[in-house]
Chain length 157, copies 2
């Protein structure tokens, strides 16, 4: 069972992580213009969005960061929870926007982050956790306990 390097930790993303998260996400895709105040508003939306199952209240969005011993953001990713009719009004976890800083790749950070998000979603009652990835990352996600189950398709204007 791999563990985080000494001094590293995984925690929920906070508004103060603005620069680190924006920088880290550039490894994954186009981040574009995101101001500090837009970021703060988004983090507030994520924090305020909850769902209620019986007496339980769960956060819908669960954005996380891995920080190193200096507090620098070295990885980020999220899982959000969808409420469906199928599977007895089942919950599904969607893992999204996984990025590991370039100088930390090949370490186990990505794996540990995925395991953390996957466990969080199952602990909250998700019958499955899904993600979409490039063909070239299939091997990595298999190491994280995922298996191929379908084709992702997109529609862009």
């Amino acid at each position: 069972m791999p563990a985080l390097p000494p001094g590293y930790s995984i925690r929920r993303l906070e508004a103060k992580d603005y620069e680190g998260v924006v920088e880290t996400l550039k490894v994954l895709t186009v981040v574009g213009d995101v101001t500090k105040s837009q970021f703060e508003e988004l983090v507030k939306y994520w924090n305020d969005t909850t769902l209620h199952i019986g007496v339980h209240s769960l956060p819908v969005y669960n954005p996380h960061v891995v920080v190193d011993e200096t507090g620098r953001v070295v990885a980020t990713g999220t899982v959000f929870i969808e409420r469906k009719i199928i599977r007895g009004c089942g919950l599904v976890g969607h893992v999204e926007d996984i990025a590991v800083a370039e100088d930390q790749q090949g370490t186990q950070l990505g794996l540990l982050l995925i395991q953390h998000l996957t466990k969080l979603a199952h602990d909250r009652g998700c019958y499955k956790v899904i993600l979409d990835c490039d063909q070239k990352n299939v091997g990595f996600y298999e190491k994280c306990g995922y298996r191929r189950c379908g084709v992702e398709m997109d529609h862009r204007l």
Copy 2:
């Protein structure tokens, strides 16, 4: 440009659609035990969940039904909207739980429903709309204007 058969219509799913929606979804997967009151509570959750972008308020969940001239549910599907950091705090539409009643397959209902949900998501500002499907349905979604873009992976306990 195909059109719905005379008397058919597409509208937002309502609590009264309980039996029709549960029956229709059985074509897609295991629906399991879903009582009328669970369904009503879920529909209320979907209706109450909105997101605010500036002064605009948008529903996050957009479950729809196609009904025939007698009011019977003949197809159902949804698109929900995720708020991201990437792509300038972009929105993504997730098309989910598309099902067409067995006796209506081969008609254009599925295509019309997908086009409706896809347009709704783009009109609300989504930079892309995505869905996951079985390999055997890729051709159908290509006809709807989607293209393959990745691999869906899942994790189940």
